[in-house]
Subunit: 451 residues, 4 copies
């Protein structure tokens, strides 16, 4: 082994279930989940991970697995990993942990992924009121490129990244999370503006023993019961990083994570071959298993030095990121705009979420004019390297959001033509109709085939 | 004159007021404002414009002009310009007008700009509850670069663009606007989520004869009175484009604007030397006078062909943009993250505006550690080429927004250091303390001077 | 005038000849040419310039002007400009002069340019043995873009730059130049390897009073006679910078020029709207008149600090450059390769010039398959933003050079197709056949028209 | 195995010698070397390869292995690989073989490389007259990044690529190669211009049975003897591609290779973690073992369709390349210039090789002012992602070449400073003095240590 070959600290055997791994995975945030590995600063180490569903979604013809998935047990994370300084002492609360992503990719022998939208009754997504049914697209990789039999005529290089990287919360921080999320769950409706359009999506995902996995802690023990009742779900990004879904967090990037407990106890998972800003379909990246090669540094006292609390306690902070130098280069972008007026024509006040929704809907509708179904474009725009921007946030009453699509991912010219071409439109019937609604309807743009 | 010298169709004399120009400017949207010029498709023409305040903000030592500005008469637009096809026939409702920005820049002899934040009682801005006082920074240009005596140690190339480009609304579209904005103004509070933090900002800016300018229509005439009472304010971006504030709409970009009335009647204004995504300080770009060199094409029937109504009528559409090939190249970015938990610790549901606010506050606080006051950074992040992204919009309950700053605009290394440097921090006292609060307090990072 | 409006130090009146300008131009390098203007460090100033031929090439239908041009009087330079430090003292020999290009562009009212290849008997070019006749293409500008009636189907953004920027040589340096160039002229043939293919090109251009212009020095005076006999021609780049033709020296770039005489006496000219690496056709950029906005700094003693003599005296140095942040962004490149085997099949030893020639010929031949004549492509590849690289220079006996073309400058897909398309090839007959051979033959790809 | 897992067609066992591999390697070009594998168009397959020396250079403290290396047996290639179309028929002479590089990287467990310069008496390099002794630097990889104990303060992302990819020559093409190279070897000196400076480098490397490896053909057999006597050496790039050393031929790139014999018989090797344009030190890339994931297409009759003979036969062609979309992004470059005047002050006529040499020497000397020895910089500029350009090739008598270095690869600011900093210069003594001259002198910039 060459001096710079990374040490494998969390191995994955894809033939085993997430909870059967030698170093068992976890799917909750809690300070009591014991570390499964230790690394030293400066050392490059390798972490392997299952896809976020732990293998529940299959490379096959039907979306029935998406429709029926149990979302209580997803986001299997590799770790926690305890980080030591040069002298072997663990990182301390108040430090900042710099995690550099030296390399990453799919697991050898498992070079494929999936993008899916959940059923409205089972998690939904950003546009669940427009696309209420489960859909699924499979992506195959050719090195840096991905293509999908369900979305023909599209191929793009991945900007691969982990959806989740985070440190363990302290007990105090965990309490803050549970309290504020319980409040939104309980009293949410009266405070909510998006409620009409998003009414069937869960307002929060509170701690639940159902589907809980806690790594080395044996299920059924009193310790397990206690932690499972308290431990935070992994769905949202929070002060510890977590499910940030920052699509540019790829090779050469660095994350500066706050350290809340001794050792930092960093966990990671939810690898994405590619994702669009917003990850709109929810299961919206190209989800896959994968590996990370990481290197850590500890910035002693770095939280105080570099982070500023953005709330009532010193714990209300957020990570900082540095983007790496190796990103796919796109030179031409088609940009769609949205304002904070919803589909019913109702004006909202400087609401970037509404504006973003409208920009995305504009993009989907536009692209569906080029031979695609809207479902195909919903999945595509969720996982291809689109950029979602907040362009204007001050011009009452309209927020302006933009959604930019690199034109070169298509094998046809999707820009508006000054001379509208005559003749029949291209129809992009999928090669294989394996992407389905509700488990039995194929995606196809031919309406007669959809009855 | 060479064959390709653009014809000047809207000249500006900077020694005159906006309403004294040979081709008088307008600051409302209305189908009844008559065109001041005509152009043919394929022709490159030049449009000059005043800064958005029409010269009310001066290159001097005090922010008193910002504090006392009358916002009823801003956004002086050049135009409307009527667009004809090859045969001399005007663009028709239902067409799409492709406007290419061939070139743009400051007006010769007027190479400076300003960035300001308004007083909380007079328009405010995205962070008005944090920065309630009027502030101002002056920027001088050195070709492609801008620097400010008020924010020393910073210099960056501009990504110059017009804040406003739009077509005239039809009467029907104007009615839709007035109706939905009136509703938010009247019934707004009960629907609003951001109300607590933004309570002093206007919910909408309804038509008002005060400060109204209607181009060639004589003030005081019955026609003026009628139009002034109906005409839409220019503050928000809407279906016709308008105040989109898309910072990448620079040289070589193309806008596809819907045509609502005969001739399209396109107007433009509000030139920005540079702007950050979101234009957070409201008067937040580097505002300047300037010129555009434009070329139009008409896509006959293009609205139906390329745009999809996103609301109850065929008029609920948005423009499409293509980004140009010449943008400043930054290779290193420092990225701040925000989640939809506000400064009081309250959880919001997938609210990208709250998440964005937190990301921006994180960035301001971080940079203030490098010798700057927070006011300096509020203005800087509003006008420098920052990218504001919606990274995650589906992971209940947290939206994740990111705010990326190109590190090379600073003359110091602003990245976190693994070894925290010892010794006193740099203090970036402005060279000239001309940027003031409330007209009398200097911007400085010395807290004692700020009481 | 705003504080940052650049002071115009060298104005040009395009209605006058180069030698009739208020501040008369010069076309030789000599320490005795007196400065026409003075600038201070830190000041942004504006220099205007004629095109390199001083208006001899016209925007018309014939290449007769190219065929008959007198090359003894070209390269009219604006300057010399004397540079003073903060205290008003001139730059000293041994200093380094940092010249920043803040902005640049065509002169208003003169937005067009030309690309030409000279007749073999009159200067020739890199491929003169393949293209022995004079040809000309006219380019019109649409803001950042150029297009040519002679080369239809092509449009690209310019990376505008001055072909020439240099300081005045000292007498000692001038002697070195004259001596070494005289040697190559006199004894050249026996040392030359490229002689067979380039035999009709001048080996050097030695001082000559014919066509000489020396700025303020009156023609016919003894001083003029003396200087004209000694002064170096401007054709080659040398230790003082001069005709470097570095295509990336655009907005925001910086040149560090050695100072050889008091005041530095910097001159500039030969503006290019765009150029390919190598400028193969000799008059090969898009040549135009233009303006520069510059800012100087003096690095005291910088020559010793930063430059290393590369020859027998301390004067054998070269300038250093920093590339600016604003270049057109191309994402797809088609790359042609050449090795140091010439067209006769003869092997040359690690000769990058031969390899480059072959790479360029490969590119021309390839593109001529897409409906163009080879002459059209010779001119295009000379002026469009191509990159010419020395890829391998050590693998005996073959040097490998590459020549990369951005594919998006064409309105058709020029990449090889896996499925060779059937049907007739597109023929790109020029819209207007004004580009001619020997003044009377049109460029066209139809061979029968070319007899 | 997922559907898109590449099939491994050429495996490498690093514990074995190149000629002991299951599919034995070859280091000559000849149509008679039998294929070791077959692939179909459209299939993604994996090829592993040893480093170009087959493991002769070790990760240790001494350059003695570099000094004494036997260059007759280098460039071990993996292959030949026979390519079949959809119907199983082999590629035919006259076809074009499109080879896409889907992915590539170091072999797992072997993540390190080396850069070296050979002794003047043993191969030398581009600057062998300046750096006549053998030197060596070891590079370790941290994912996308490389760093060297011998060149501290430098770290950069690799633009990894195969130095060699080529098809088998036909017998006719092989004869052409051998004839023209024999001519340069035999009659070379009188035709050569670079001879004075490069006199100790071999003019050509003619066929030689010494060190010859021919894959499956048994050494000592009559067949082996015959082929070994005829087979071309792999050092230079030629019509079949071969040792092109094009540093941008990385992930997502495509090579269009001419097919000269049935099946195309493509071979590849000489993986580089990174290389500068020119690969000046000869063993100048970061040399390593590695893998490629490739996909082939056959363009039937593509040679005639797309390539143009550049010599007396139809075989005088060169490959075409398309650059991939994933390259490291550098925004700031420091550019050094060279003109065709050599170090003795002698003028050469438009000689790009001389100009390039001077540009590189300027760069080395400049960087040596920042605490490095010139030997360190010679190795660094040979392997880091520098760009070498032919900027001007027509301005008699000077060719102008430029050499651009991305500034961010250094941990200090290497740009010239307007205010020259006072105080002692940084000295970059290598951490470990393992890089040596002649096997016994350490690289260090401390002159006293170098006597």
């Amino acid at each position: 082994m060459a001096p710079s070959t990374p040490r494998l600290v969390v191995p994955i055997d894809l033939k085993k279930k997430p909870w059967e791994q030698i170093l068992p995975l976890h799917n909750r945030w809690h300070p009591g989940i014991p570390p499964v590995a230790e690394v030293k600063v400066g050392e490059v180490f390798r972490v392997e991970m299952v896809d976020w569903t732990g293998g529940m979604i299959k490379d096959n013809d039907s979306a029935i697995d998406v429709k029926t998935i149990d979302l209580s047990s997803v986001h299997y994370l590799s770790g926690p990993i305890r980080v030591l300084d040069e002298e072997g002492k663990p990182a301390q609360p108040g430090d900042l942990l710099a995690v550099e992503i030296c390399n990453l990719g799919p697991l050898p022998g498992d070079e494929w992924g999936f993008t899916a939208s959940f059923d409205r009754e089972n998690g939904g997504g950003f546009l669940t009121d427009h696309f209420p049914c489960a859909t699924k697209a499979i992506w195959y990789f050719e090195g840096i490129y991905a293509y999908s039999p369900q979305i023909p005529g599209v191929r793009f290089p991945g900007l691969t990244h982990p959806g989740i990287v985070g440190t363990a919360p302290s007990r105090e921080l965990l309490n803050i999370w549970n309290e504020r999320e319980r409040e939104v769950e309980e009293t949410g409706l009266k405070h909510l503006k998006l409620c009409e359009v998003l009414h069937s999506r869960p307002l929060a995902n509170l701690p639940s023993t159902k589907g809980c996995h806690l790594g080395k802690i044996q299920k059924g023990t009193p310790e397990w019961e206690k932690i499972a009742t308290e431990a935070a779900r992994t769905i949202p990004g929070r002060e510890n990083g977590g499910n940030c879904d920052i699509k540019n967090l790829s090779r050469g990037s660095k994350v500066y994570l706050p350290v809340f407990i001794e050792g930092a106890n960093v966990s990671t998972g939810d690898m994405h071959f590619s994702q669009g800003d917003g990850e709109i379909a929810f299961c919206g990246a190209i989800e896959m298993s994968g590996f990370l090669e990481l290197k850590c540094e500890i910035i002693k006292g770095g939280m105080k030095e570099y982070l500023t609390p953005m709330g009532p306690t010193l714990l209300h902070v957020n990570p900082i990121f540095e983007i790496g130098p190796v990103e796919p280069r796109f030179s031409e972008w088609l940009v769609f705009e949205g304002i904070s007026v919803d589909e019913s024509g109702r004006q909202h006040f400087l609401d970037a979420s509404v504006a973003y929704k409208r920009a995305v809907l504009n993009a989907i509708d536009y692209l569906s004019k080029f031979g695609y179904s809207k479902e195909q474009m919903y999945l595509l725009l969720s996982c291809c390297p689109c950029e979602g921007r907040i362009s204007g946030i001050v011009d009452s009453p309209n927020a302006v959001a933009t959604f930019a699509i690199p034109t070169s991912i298509f094998d046809q010219d999707i820009r508006p033509k000054t001379k509208v071409p005559v003749g029949p439109r291209l129809v992009r019937t999928p090669d294989v109709l394996k992407c389905t609604y509700d488990g039995n309807l194929p995606i196809t743009k031919n309406p007669s085939a959809m009855t």
